[in-house]
């Protein structure tokens, strides 16, 4: 099926609404992240909480990439999610937008590498991989991950990969499967 790359008012509203749903969900899991961080801090593994919940933070990207099948939709979906979270009173203020763009571009890359032609289990897995690598690279700079001992670094990477795969891979696939069965998304190609 051929998908148009132009954004229309309805698409933009739909994308924002989906982003808001995710923004609300991110906001709801904020406390979970904090509790987990507090629990892991005494042994020096506090940052690991970030890797455990990473899959949930980055879900909006691959999902909107998959639903809209347009160039930039994953980035825009994830970015808008972060903007919404910011205005809901998420704990990071305007800096949230940077994470949003990094995560958005990270998940977008998976679709870019397949030339925006394949929207299947393969491109979704590729998106999971690029998301993990790019966001991890960003945390190496921003959160000082690069200074950790190599063993911990590998462990954190694997935790993040698993978390991203479960949420942005398996869960997104399950959601898309449910959506495909409704045949509602075909109206997208108008």
């Amino acid at each position: 099926m051929k998908y148009s790359n132009a954004w229309h008012l309805r698409d933009i509203i739909l994308l924002t609404l989906i982003a808001i749903f995710f923004g609300v969900i991110y906001w709801v899991i904020g406390p979970l992240y904090n509790v987990l961080t507090v629990a892991l801090t005494p042994v020096g593994l506090g940052p690991g909480a970030n890797d455990v919940v990473m899959g949930i933070w980055v879900m909006a990207g691959p999902l909107s990439g998959y639903i809209f099948k347009k160039v930039g939709s994953a980035t825009l979906g994830e970015f808008l999610g972060s903007v919404v979270e910011m205005f809901l009173g998420g704990q990071w203020g305007a800096s949230t937008m940077i994470s949003g763009v990094v995560q958005g571009v990270a998940s977008e890359l998976g679709f870019t590498f397949t030339g925006y032609k394949r929207y299947d289990w393969f491109s979704l897995n590729l998106s999971v991989l690029t998301t993990t690598i790019v966001t991890f690279g960003w945390d190496m700079i921003r959160n000082g991950y690069s200074k950790y001992h190599i063993g911990l670094l590998i462990a954190l990477f694997i935790i993040r990969l698993i978390s991203t795969w479960i949420f942005s891979g398996l869960l997104v696939k399950a959601i898309v499967k449910l959506l495909d069965r409704t045949h509602l998304m075909q109206t997208q190609s108008r």
Binding site: I12, T16, V24, G46, V84, G144, H149, L178
Partner: protein, 218 residues
């Protein structure tokens, strides 16, 4: 300050301190951010939260550096203050700007297409409805003995179905009220970029560079 430039400045500062490790600059930025936040007279509860919530990741990162790496006290301090600089500078932008002002400024000053500006704004105003929709979906699930968790695809599926429905309605409503994509518009509320906006932006960035390089060279 002009909303677009204000957010751009906050993001640029956050980006720059991600790549530098001078804790004194981070601390100074956090204090400036805090002063700006205080001028907006936030409720006390908000202010307390603003202090304590960043404490969790900040302590976590600092402790992790001390226990799990050889980077030492200095770098731990850098990460700790970096988190506070992020949060206070970021919140200084968000707490002093309303969503609609930011979107209007992005449309008029940054020239993003009006369909994005008003599409976003229209959808954003449905926020309370969305929060209640999430509760409705979960309650409906509970009534059928089906607990919907954060990992349940049905939760997201139903949320997307609701979004599809509302986006269609809202887009039609906006079109029927005369909104047309790409048509020239006049503005009820004009937002301008003044010369002092540029002055604040450029001088803040200059000061930041001087502080960073000055302290780095020492």
């Amino acid at each position: 300050m002009n909303p677009s430039l204000k957010f751009l400045l906050a993001v640029l500062i956050a980006l720059e301190i991600s790549f530098t490790s001078t804790w004194m600059v981070n601390l100074a930025l956090a204090i400036i951010g805090l002063l700006i936040i205080l001028t907006s007279r936030p409720p006390l509860k908000r202010l307390v939260l603003l202090f304590f919530v960043p404490l969790i990741p900040a302590v976590a990162l600092a402790v992790a550096i001390l226990l799990q790496s050889n980077a030492g006290m200095h770098f731990a301090l850098v990460l700790f203050t970096r988190i506070y600089a992020y949060v206070f500078v970021g919140s200084a932008a968000t707490l002093t700007t309303s969503v609609s002002d930011l979107v209007m400024s992005l449309e008029q000053n940054a020239h993003i297409p009006s369909k994005f500006a008003y599409g976003f704004l229209g959808a954003f105003d449905l926020l309370p409805k969305i929060v209640s929709e999430v509760n409705v979906i979960r309650a409906a699930g509970n009534m059928r003995g089906q607990a919907l968790h954060i990992w349940s695809p049905q939760l997201y599926f139903k949320a997307i179905l609701a979004s599809l429905d509302w986006s269609e309605n809202l887009a039609e409503a906006m079109t029927s009220h005369g909104f047309s994509e790409g048509a020239p518009r006049t503005y009820f509320k004009q937002i301008r970029v003044h010369w002092w906006d540029w002055c604040i932006m450029i001088s803040s960035l200059l000061l930041l560079q001087i502080a960073l390089f000055g302290l780095h060279l020492q």
